[in-house]
Symmetry: D2
Subunit: 396 residues, 4 copies
Amino acid sequence: MTHRAGRHFLQIPGPSPVPDRVLRAMSAQVIDHRGPGFADVGKRALDGMKTIFKTDQDVIIYPASGTGAWEAALVNALSEGDRVLMYETGHFAAMWKKMAEKLGLRPEFIAGDWRGGADPDAIETRLREDRGHEIKAVCVVHNETSTGSVTPIAQVRAAIDAAGHPALLMVDTISGLASIDFRFDEWGVDVAVSGSQKGLMLPPGISFNAVGAKAMEAAKNGGMRRSYWDWLDMKAINQTGYFPYTPATNMLFGLNEAIAMLHDEGLENVFARHQRHGAATRAAVRHWGLEVLCRQQGQESGVLTAVVMPEGHSADAFRATALKHYDISLGNGLSKVADKVFRIGHLGDINDLTLAGTLTGVEMGLRKAGVPHQSGGVDAAMKVLDDTPAPGIAAE
Amino acid sequence: MTHRAGRHFLQIPGPSPVPDRVLRAMSAQVIDHRGPGFADVGKRALDGMKTIFKTDQDVIIYPASGTGAWEAALVNALSEGDRVLMYETGHFAAMWKKMAEKLGLRPEFIAGDWRGGADPDAIETRLREDRGHEIKAVCVVHNETSTGSVTPIAQVRAAIDAAGHPALLMVDTISGLASIDFRFDEWGVDVAVSGSQKGLMLPPGISFNAVGAKAMEAAKNGGMRRSYWDWLDMKAINQTGYFPYTPATNMLFGLNEAIAMLHDEGLENVFARHQRHGAATRAAVRHWGLEVLCRQQGQESGVLTAVVMPEGHSADAFRATALKHYDISLGNGLSKVADKVFRIGHLGDINDLTLAGTLTGVEMGLRKAGVPHQSGGVDAAMKVLDDTPAPGIAAE
Amino acid sequence: MTHRAGRHFLQIPGPSPVPDRVLRAMSAQVIDHRGPGFADVGKRALDGMKTIFKTDQDVIIYPASGTGAWEAALVNALSEGDRVLMYETGHFAAMWKKMAEKLGLRPEFIAGDWRGGADPDAIETRLREDRGHEIKAVCVVHNETSTGSVTPIAQVRAAIDAAGHPALLMVDTISGLASIDFRFDEWGVDVAVSGSQKGLMLPPGISFNAVGAKAMEAAKNGGMRRSYWDWLDMKAINQTGYFPYTPATNMLFGLNEAIAMLHDEGLENVFARHQRHGAATRAAVRHWGLEVLCRQQGQESGVLTAVVMPEGHSADAFRATALKHYDISLGNGLSKVADKVFRIGHLGDINDLTLAGTLTGVEMGLRKAGVPHQSGGVDAAMKVLDDTPAPGIAAE
Amino acid sequence: MTHRAGRHFLQIPGPSPVPDRVLRAMSAQVIDHRGPGFADVGKRALDGMKTIFKTDQDVIIYPASGTGAWEAALVNALSEGDRVLMYETGHFAAMWKKMAEKLGLRPEFIAGDWRGGADPDAIETRLREDRGHEIKAVCVVHNETSTGSVTPIAQVRAAIDAAGHPALLMVDTISGLASIDFRFDEWGVDVAVSGSQKGLMLPPGISFNAVGAKAMEAAKNGGMRRSYWDWLDMKAINQTGYFPYTPATNMLFGLNEAIAMLHDEGLENVFARHQRHGAATRAAVRHWGLEVLCRQQGQESGVLTAVVMPEGHSADAFRATALKHYDISLGNGLSKVADKVFRIGHLGDINDLTLAGTLTGVEMGLRKAGVPHQSGGVDAAMKVLDDTPAPGIAAE
């Protein structure tokens, strides 16, 4: 049997399932990215992304995946040899640090246990010690995709300010943006990094920087040698809706559709929906008798839930069983937690019944794989869904 | 909020959700239906449908919905004033009878209670009485879409033979074909009627007759005045892969893709999947303390399950609640059972997790609508799914 | 080589190339045709088609091809044995007559030479002779697809009125509608027949009747035995945007998109564009030294141009050569003119450069097939395009 | 009028029109790029691209546009301060040089007049002078998109060898690959750069490096600080069909379809088709009395033809007129030749009749814009098409 009936459940923490509307928008014929008809496409994308980042400052769109936007943030705002303070929230924080090293920065890592967001107090303490202001940037991950923990960005900003430290605040919100609340201007973020294949509901292929005035100034006066990632080249020509080199035109078609869908639903409704689905998922996990990886209350992600596998059981074997029998893709544990956790994505274009199908897939997968658990997790999730008002649906 | 996040659950007993592969196949550019490239498209569709009907005899494809194929069956094989024996299995049997009357036939209806398939014994009894062989055809509905009951076609054939009666056996398998077992040649059916938007996983717009030699002979020598529906015009030119008038070309593109998908999965796997999902659904319904409309054991449909609403509760109000809150479409009760039953479609391109989402939608809808029930139906369904081997998946 | 680079030129007189926008609209997921969301789809289609037929009276939409809508017109408004006056404008007029015979009507055919539209004077003369008003309908083809000649419908109406004859005026505008001007109400048409795959730019699969009050009254009081085609069943439920049986939902999605596109361009611009392309095509044909089949000035079609092949040359061999070498589909000669004419479609979603490519394909095909002609036809066509203002484009 | 009837003629030298088959392939639902189903997608893309580059060595695929692949070539194989020899064939050669400067290389530019490919003799002369082998790479543009001139790569290789110089040969074949012949291994290229939106018929968004053993060795031992572009990270994990960071999954779906189409047609047929269309276009240009920008015989591109505007006429005004009146996009003159030349793209998924439509658009545009020219260019092009056997079509 090569064909499997029914729709695959793509419940990894990104790429999230791409809505048909977006796929259709992307399947329009390509146009001349230097012709008069393109300016509107480009402007809508650039202006639209400002509403998503909640910023009036600059947004840059790269034909690249999120990893490229990480690099762009570093090479524009920082210079070789710069010290940067990073926080080990999980695998992606570690990957960003590794990239910083490859690019010649001197990252310093505040160790973490992968079970919560970055700790603002620890950041403040370290910055206070840095009297010479050698640290040029604080880099944190908003929603750590490998663990399902959220860093309180506003508090990190407050910590930097409290320390009276001039370091730039750089935030990876690749998997957070457009799923959980993010406020670039209000929170005083200097550089944000994001990607297309998570809350924005697109396939991977374009990524973003939001850039505040202070970071842009840093880029003007310094930064590393760069060309493809150069903010200044981008900013100059973006004013007119065009790009300095060929953009990923059809991805921009899809992006404009996705932005319209997000505003149609209402960003705050989108955030509430993700919170509600996160809560329902955690209720199921706890009912099963399993442990949620994130153990900082209030920092559990609305995007994904990482689940700790009972001792003696392989998370990857379980995931393979679930995929084989129930046609559901779950996220794997990465590096330190490889084979020890699995991750349930509940982000992007999903609704209550998709979540119910997902949790059923997990529960039946646990049963099929012989993982000890208490059945009834889907019921427990339903209860949460029932008790929490669904965003955007008027009460009867 | 005008946009709803996530995929709508279209769980009515047809149209069933159209797989992306089929939608993509249908979105190819139209071609010249008289050009050399068309013959292959036409032949594949006509030959492919023979494998689905399990027949070596003729298949006719109409650019029309299933209702048109009902009409085609009657006007080709029968003549005005002919007496036909029909069986009241439900709303669609009643509609076919009404059509027969409009077309000038004299249908006779064996009354039924809408809670099971046609009774072969009653048919045999009636045919034995018809010594003069005035009855020219016995018309039954294979899978009654309004009730979720299945008529045992092989036994109806046996009943006709036992009565030594020459009447044609005409079967409406609009919602049965490609979901539950149907064997045109082996069961001795003379004319079968089907449509595209059920087990064949297409949008509505094309429909089918399978025609046995005896019925084709009847058409040659008689039938009513007809043009669009004429089997003989069709059969003549179909030999070459072409049609006497413009076919619904893009629907044929989709049909060929759907047939390939059905054989990829394996027809017997498809049937087993529907049976398993029917059983799981009934387990949920019974757990909720609700009644399945079909009460003939062994005749419950693998295509849909009609559920009797508790006295004093409106099925339509419940369906509206489920649609509003959980974005799921359920089938309504038709004519005699309007507002008294709702129907859960579990046909076509679905899998275990879609079914779980569906049953969750029903259970949460019952709760939201204040319909008394025992919670835990989804768990009960999961148990059945777990206990029944999934077709086509090798045991671990 | 199985793949041919580039886009096929589908320049037959229907199906015309389906625009990407329409294909994308049709590839949306099917919805419940009895659910609350469908009413808007149905109403937009029904109301939209009134603007295309230019009528305030009834429009009926069938899941069927144009041939079905022919049958619908006859079985609703006429009764077995009725005499109808038809006019032999070409192959399709002859096919409609053949259908009338099969359905038990007594059509009378005014002979024509296939080189012009129906002659109003001949119709008036015949009707005046019919003192007893035995003739119940006059049936003419607006745009004869087999010949490229247009019948002046307003003049046919005037002829009927001048004769003081009560016969219904029935018009086949399958290939005329939405390409050349048609005014149901203003011209006093009683029944019009059309299809989706011509000016409406859809694939084949749905078709239309526009029905005036007098014809609807005739249907109420008579007509033939009918069910699928019954106007009254349709009209009753269409008020709410729904249909008495399953409609071809995805075709309606496409229809609504196509109607929007037609109004976007402006119907009068659409008509002018077709006229201009017809004129340019005829200039090319004449430059080549070939003969346009239609020889009634002012009746040449804006939809297609049928070209007479020089004596001793096979039109079909030429078409095969053009298809093989230049990947262009041209229309064949039908019945009486088989192999003697070929037809160039210039309808639907095409523009000046598509037409230029088309005429180049014809000219190069003539050369490759060894058909004597004077080269430079494309230049001659360009001259016409250049001299005729393009509709909807403001002068510089 | 906001909607324009018919298909836009996108005749710029890239992006080229994306075939429907590719758009459909790209519109499949995204999959888990770390799941078991992805390996096949990745391997097919990587192996397929080797057949297109004609290499058995490494191919790297970036989620980036061609500009990114330029950067990747430089940062992997070269080190800051390295001297590189570049050749001013036109705008894109100049842009690549500018990038090299931004990245800290010391490019040396052999001046050119933009009217031919790079001159191997000049390269050999310069290399012979470089006794100390300070020049680390020779960078040339295979098909200069701004001028329509082709550099003879095999001769450049021969020149380097004749000079006994160890410099790497780096070739930008962004707009050449899959349209005109390119042989990475046979021609001894060390690094090639390409993109998706030209001969590969995809939208922009992915780009490529082909990397020979010597260049890979250089990357291992040096290169600049890099992360996103790092060949070694890519190569390591590509073995299994996966990527070190999220690939542009849906673009890879499209790429695999496009590669299949190219092999279906036959690469040599593809090249011959482009040559033939180039020749036909030049015949039209010369007939009009205009000048082809490339004046090196044998170096005229099969991908595009740049046309010199007569003195006193604005190329951009002409292009705007053609776009407005004939819905055709033509390429603009870039930098040095801005407003002085326009470019006709004849690459990718086009055929004879598309070319004819294109040339008609140019000729009618010239007329409408009042640019002096001799009419009949399309005829002249037809003559060439007629006289040159079409690749892949058997003679009659």
